[in-house]
């Protein structure tokens, strides 16, 4: 490694691996290192032995759970919007050829103590027990407005400038009650808190359209897809892209100390007494703890179960959103469940997660409303992790640090961070203008 590189990437989390791949494809000379002996960093998927080591301090999971390597337990559970930014990146980079996906069975929302399917279209709205009959008609009108809305065609705007009109004002025009607003904002537009109500409505309308388009794409019961064998496959696939384009990979590299010159600019990375010279460093927050600050923390529970989440139509993969207002919280809570149907557990086993932006230091108590929906569990692990964001000025030190993964249930914010970092690193904007309407899924 005593060579000179354009970029040294530290950490093999999804964000770092996407960037490594994009930069290698651009022809830059990339060295990619990780202190762990596995790919994925914070966004890896663990087998049972690794899971027990991390949370139980033992490497002896009970035998009745089955073979360790049949498990791929995501450390950052998220689903992929079928029409979203990550799919565009996957297609743009042709990384799709390394991965197999399956649609996620269901998308549900918690409302007044019960779990309901999320109605996403005008037709579904008419059938949903979430609303009374008059409310349904009002909601249907609003859904049709959103479906027909086209930013470039003023006649679909019905006289409203959505860059100025707030979401609250737009919704008021349709006379929707708070209950309806709650599931539209949180379960369809996937906002995490209620700030969107006072922000311009365009963002919410776009998010609702993304949900509906994603739902239509694969005709599953949800707008999401998820890779077979778990999310840990994603960083590996992008790492392979990087390697195919000349990137050098070194796992299990202790220390990875970033070196700076007299002006405070990055000049290399040292590990095991060897220094790789470089012009730029890309890394996750853990490699440059002095250049990040804590912005929050995520509380989560990881459960191994022998049944699907109750009241979700026996969905083998599902998301349930518990809007903050329903729980008297400031941020939403999420249930995420995957199973052997996505090859993340042996036959008959389900992996469920309950997660939220932590508001207390007691995840056991804080997560209880979500845990109560799961029914009996075989095993449960609690965890709280801090989230960080960079505070450095990359133009001064040439360090490009990713933001920790947030509690959202999908990858839209992840990809936005990656694309911004790519632009800062290269001065270019990544053209993700793939023809998504033409992109389709082929049977294997």
């Amino acid at each position: 490694m005593d060579e000179e590189y354009d970029v040294v990437v530290l950490g093999t989390g999804l964000k770092e691996c996407i960037l490594s791949g994009l930069l290698s494809v651009d022809g830059l000379k990339v060295l990619h290192m990780d202190r762990n002996d596995y790919y994925g960093g914070e966004s890896t998927s663990l087998n049972l032995i690794q899971l027990w080591k991390k949370f139980r301090g033992s490497d002896k999971p009970p035998a009745h759970l089955g073979s360790s390597r049949d498990y791929n337990v995501d450390m950052i559970p998220k689903f992929i919007m079928a029409n979203g930014a990550l799919v565009r990146v996957l297609i743009h980079t042709d990384v799709t050829k390394y991965l197999y996906f399956k649609a996620v069975d269901g998308s549900f929302v918690y409302n007044k103590g019960k779990v309901h399917k999320v109605p996403a279209t005008d037709m579904e709205a008419l059938k949903s027990p979430l609303m009374g009959i008059f409310e349904k008609r009002r909601a249907r009108k609003f859904f049709i407005y959103v479906q027909d809305y086209n930013e470039n065609e003023p006649k679909t705007h019905e006289g409203m400038d959505l860059t100025r009109v707030t979401t609250r004002e737009l919704i008021a025009k349709y006379g929707l009650d708070d209950n309806t607003v709650d599931f539209i904002g949180h379960a369809l537009a996937l906002h995490r808190d209620d700030r969107y109500l006072n922000e311009p409505a365009l963002e919410t309308v776009k998010k609702m359209k993304l949900y509906a388009e994603s739902l239509a794409r694969f005709q599953g019961g949800s707008p999401y897809i998820y890779p077979l064998y778990g999310l840990g496959e994603l960083p590996q696939a992008f790492a392979r892209l990087s390697a195919v384009y000349g990137g050098t990979y070194m796992l299990n590299k202790p220390e990875c100390k970033v070196e700076f010159d007299d002006e405070g600019k990055v000049c290399g990375v040292t590990s095991e007494g060897e220094t790789a010279k470089c012009k730029k460093v890309v890394c996750d927050p853990s490699y440059l703890p002095n250049k990040v600050r804590k912005v929050g923390k995520v509380a989560r529970a990881i459960c191994i179960m022998s049944h699907p989440i109750p009241n979700t139509n026996d969905s083998h993969s599902v998301q349930v959103i518990l809007p903050q207002k329903q729980l008297g919280r400031r941020s939403d809570m999420y249930l995420f469940c995957c199973s052997y149907s996505h090859n993340v557990a042996p036959k008959g086993k389900f992996i469920a997660f309950v997660s939220t932006e932590a508001e207390t230091d007691q995840p056991e108590i804080e997560l209880k409303p979500g845990l109560d929906l799961l029914g009996p569990v075989d095993e449960i692990f609690f965890d709280v992790y801090d989230r960080y964001e960079p505070v450095n000025e990359p133009s001064l030190d040439n360090c490009f640090i990713s933001t920790s993964y947030d509690a959202t249930t999908h990858f839209e914010s992840t990809v936005i961070d990656v694309l911004n970092m790519y632009s800062m690193i290269t001065g270019k904007v990544l053209d993700l203008n793939v023809d998504l309407s033409a992109a389709s899924a082929a049977e294997e």
């Binding site: 996957l90 197999y100 694969f218 392979r240 050098t248 070194m250 033409a438 082929a442 294997e444």
Partner: protein, 194 residues
């Protein structure tokens, strides 16, 4: 994974072995009939496919090259995932050839070959065929010496693998879908979870 349809078999084949053993050269010879004396470390193409006809069926190999990730022992588990066959390549002129690679596999039906490459360099030989054959037998591999340069035995290795692939392998994995970028066929070509 090896999947079947109308006497057609799709099989993922992975290459293992030390850097410089000639993995890419072997594939290039097989797929394109080419040999480059000074083959650069593989850039830009680490995914080949080639179809072979054997007896009653055709086998489409999807061949994965290591893309150099073996160099610092950083091959991702994804690389082996679902592989129906592996060729472990070593250089017969290298005294410390480590033909083992990683034999860890979750697929007991995986067909594995041991290829002693650079067999044209007889005068520089450091590993005897007997040693390699004994190793292969102990580990359940079939063994051939190959030369990507002269093409000796190259097609034979792939043919032998194709013949040995289990025809009626139960589909271990529920099949997923591959996202592709292509013109929509008809109304909606999207289908999944079959």
């Amino acid at each position: 994974m090896a999947t079947i349809g109308h006497n057609n078999l799709n099989a993922k084949l992975v290459l293992l072995g030390d850097m410089g053993a000639g993995k890419s050269s072997l594939v290039l010879r097989f797929v394109k009939g080419q040999f480059l004396e000074f083959q650069e470390s593989t850039i830009g193409a680490a995914f080949f496919s080639q179809t072979l006809a054997v007896n009653d069926a055709t086998v489409k190999f999807e061949i994965w090259d290591t893309a150099g990730q073996e160099r610092y022992h950083s091959l991702a588990p994804m690389y082996y995932r679902g592989a129906a066959a592996a060729i472990i390549v070593y250089d017969i002129t290298s005294a410390n050839a480590q033909p083992c690679g990683s034999l860890v596999t979750s697929n007991p039906n995986m067909v594995m070959a041991l290829a002693g490459n650079k067999a044209d360099l007889e005068e520089k030989r450091k590993v005897t065929a007997e040693e390699a054959r004994a190793y292969a037998e102990e580990n359940g591999l079939f063994f051939m010496e190959t030369s990507a340069k002269t093409a000796a035995n190259v097609n034979d290795v792939f043919h032998e693998i194709a013949k040995r692939l289990p025809r009626a392998q139960p589909n271990q994995n529920p099949s997923g879908m591959v996202l592709v970028d292509r013109p929509a066929e008809g109304a909606r070509a999207a289908s999944c979870c079959s």
